[in-house]
């Protein structure tokens, strides 16, 4: 099994872009959602707050709310309904006072 979850089967010819998770570069293409971009590189997008393990989204259409991820700049976005943008910086953990 590869590290990634999703697997491109079409639409490979699109301009590329780079986003970052915890400082690590992730290659994606214009038109990918943030969730798609993450899942083409890995199979986990967050850890459940309540200790029941890793999550990687579920409904892909903005209904289940399981794919909210942290922005480095502060705040959260819903990964499946947010387009990946060049230079977008995500973090998997947020430090608090």
């Amino acid at each position: 099994m590869t590290e990634s979850q999703f697997h491109r089967v079409a639409e490979r010819e699109r301009p590329s872009l780079t986003l970052y998770l915890d400082g690590q570069a992730i290659e994606a293409r214009r038109g990918d959602t943030v969730l798609t971009a993450l899942l083409l590189a890995r199979h986990v997008i967050r850890e459940s707050e309540f200790g029941d393990g890793p999550r990687a989204g579920f409904c892909l259409m903005g209904a289940c709310q399981d794919c909210w991820v942290f922005l480095d700049a502060g705040g959260r976005i819903r990964a499946c309904t947010t387009m990946a943008e060049e230079g977008l910086r995500l973090v998997s953990k947020v430090s608090v006072p």
Binding site: Q5, V9, G53, R55, C59, L60, Q65, D66, L71, G87
Partner: protein, 473 residues
């Protein structure tokens, strides 16, 4: 009575129902506002791919390509003439004002009449391992392909029931993804008996049969009458374990599962609008109460499409038009009665088809009774079946809102979209009472999570993931 020009109509949703409602209103001189969460119109089944994607409609929509194209073009030709707001969520309804949140922040849209065309989402029955990475909802796995050109994995199993199971599996295999199996809980053994009803849907049933045959021909296992047991794996799914129709256990190695049991309407805005809900014994769901034209129990509020009850895209287009005509008529405008009659007749045929389809692919809703205590039912809050049963048994909780208050099940981000029906089933089973007796979860605003940053106009831009704009707090 207001004249066409000054009647303010808000349509929520730009799928088949919303588009036809908008079109119908415009034809009669009413300029509606259409608010849609998606960046482009089309809804889910006719979802348009992002800019820069090149696949033709035939690839995306198969047999329905012409319908999809006609729908898209219909809205394209009118969207400049109406107030169209994509990427916008209606987070609350308050006394004839819709409170919305979009890329520029929050806003208010007053209305005289409201058409809710909010569509549907997957119906889920939880199993051990269903929260593992790699397990996606069935319609979600279709979105991955249609909207992103991706398969959810490299060895995909589809599991659950409903006609969508075969369509998505076909689309995946046809796109070059490896599809291990289609596992349908429905036996389909009584298909012949249901034929008269199924034929009321025209060629649709044959398309379905064609997909199933094509899949088998191309080496995809198609299993019927299965009982899925669990999704195996530690940090991601690696197999589906099930009982086959013949009673033996089987393990299907995979790295992704598309899992779902038909669809259920998104009814949160209907709830906020104060619409009455009635318990539907066939689907075992609480559905908004509407008449055959789409009028709800609240004056000025109409429902159309799968957001009212699941009837499919064709019916959604007709219901959108019909609800708009009823709306116009109710507001004193002349409408072609013959057209309304014709729409009703077409809808009658489709509803016979829908009924047969529901019987062909029954949702095994009561299977949730058998899940182990350790299985997570509310995935937002990680609440297990055991905790729900404990509340029902030991904590005197015989009503779902009480169970929610005591266990937190249904209190999470998705507002019980995924777990609500399953909580009710578990509570009713634990208390040995009819499902209807345990009530339904009360909806609250915001119907989807509302980032606080978005509500603060000064900082709204910050919420738009602009990494080059510093957040001043």
């Amino acid at each position: 009575m207001t004249e066409g020009g000054s009647l303010r109509v808000l349509i929520v949703g730009a799928g088949p129902a919303g588009v036809r409602a908008a079109e119908t209103l415009l034809k009669h001189g009413v300029k509606p506002t259409v608010v849609d969460e998606a960046p482009r119109h089309g809804g889910q089944i006719y979802r348009q791919q992002p800019d820069g994607f090149k696949r033709p409609p035939r690839t995306l929509y198969g047999f329905e390509a012409h319908k999809a194209t006609r729908l898209h073009q219909a809205f394209d030709s009118l969207k400049e003439r109406i107030d169209y707001r994509p990427n916008t969520l209606v987070w609350n309804l308050w006394r004839n004002v819709a409170h919305v949140a979009g890329p520029k922040g929050t806003d208010e849209i007053p209305f005289d009449a409201l058409v809710l065309a909010t569509g549907a989402m997957d119906r889920i029955i939880p199993l051990p391992g269903w929260t593992l990475p790699g397990v996606y909802s069935l319609a979600g796995s279709q979105v991955a392909l249609k909207y992103q050109g991706c398969a959810i994995g490299q060895k995909v199993v589809f599991c659950g029931t409903g006609p969508l199971l075969y369509l998505v599996a076909y689309q995946y295999k046809h796109a070059g993804a490896e599809v291990v199996a289609v596992c349908d809980t429905a036996r389909l053994s009584h298909a012949a008996y249901l034929m008269p009803g199924l034929l009321a849907g025209g060629s649709t049933i044959f398309k379905g049969m064609w997909y199933a045959a094509w899949l088998k021909l191309h080496g995809v296992k198609v299993l019927n009458g299965v009982t899925p047991l669990r999704f195996e794996g530690t940090d991601r799914v690696n197999a589906l374990r099930l009982i086959t129709g013949r009673g033996g256990e089987k393990t299907l190695a995979c790295d992704a599962v598309g899992h779902g049991y038909t669809l259920k309407p998104e009814t949160q805005l209907a709830d906020l609008a104060g619409v009455n809900f009635g318990f539907d014994t066939m689907t075992r769901l609480w559905l908004p109460a509407i008449d055959e034209y789409g009028r709800s129990t609240v004056e000025g509020v109409y429902l159309a499409g799968d957001g009212a009850s699941i009837a499919g895209a064709d019916a959604a287009e007709l219901r959108g038009e019909l609800a708009a005509l009823a709306l116009l008529k109710d507001h004193g405008m002349a409408v072609p009665n013959a057209r309304m009659v014709a729409l009703m007749r077409k809808l009658g045929r489709l509803s016979r088809f829908r009924e047969a389809l529901d019987r062909l692919f029954p949702v095994p809703a009561t299977d949730v009774h058998a899940i182990n205590d350790e299985v997570v039912v509310c995935r937002c809050e990680a609440i297990t079946a055991g905790e729900i049963r404990h509340a029902a048994h030991e904590l005197d909780a015989g009503e779902v809102n009480r169970v929610k208050a005591l266990t937190r099940a249904g209190m999470g981000r998705c507002q019980a979209r995924l777990c609500g029906a399953n909580i009710a089933e578990l509570v009713a089973h634990a208390r040995a009472v009819p499902l209807e007796a345990v009530g339904r979860l009360r909806g609250q605003a915001p119907i989807k999570p509302l980032p606080i940053a978005l509500t603060r106009k000064a900082d709204a831009l910050w919420a738009l993931n602009r990494p080059d704009e510093p957040w001043s707090g």
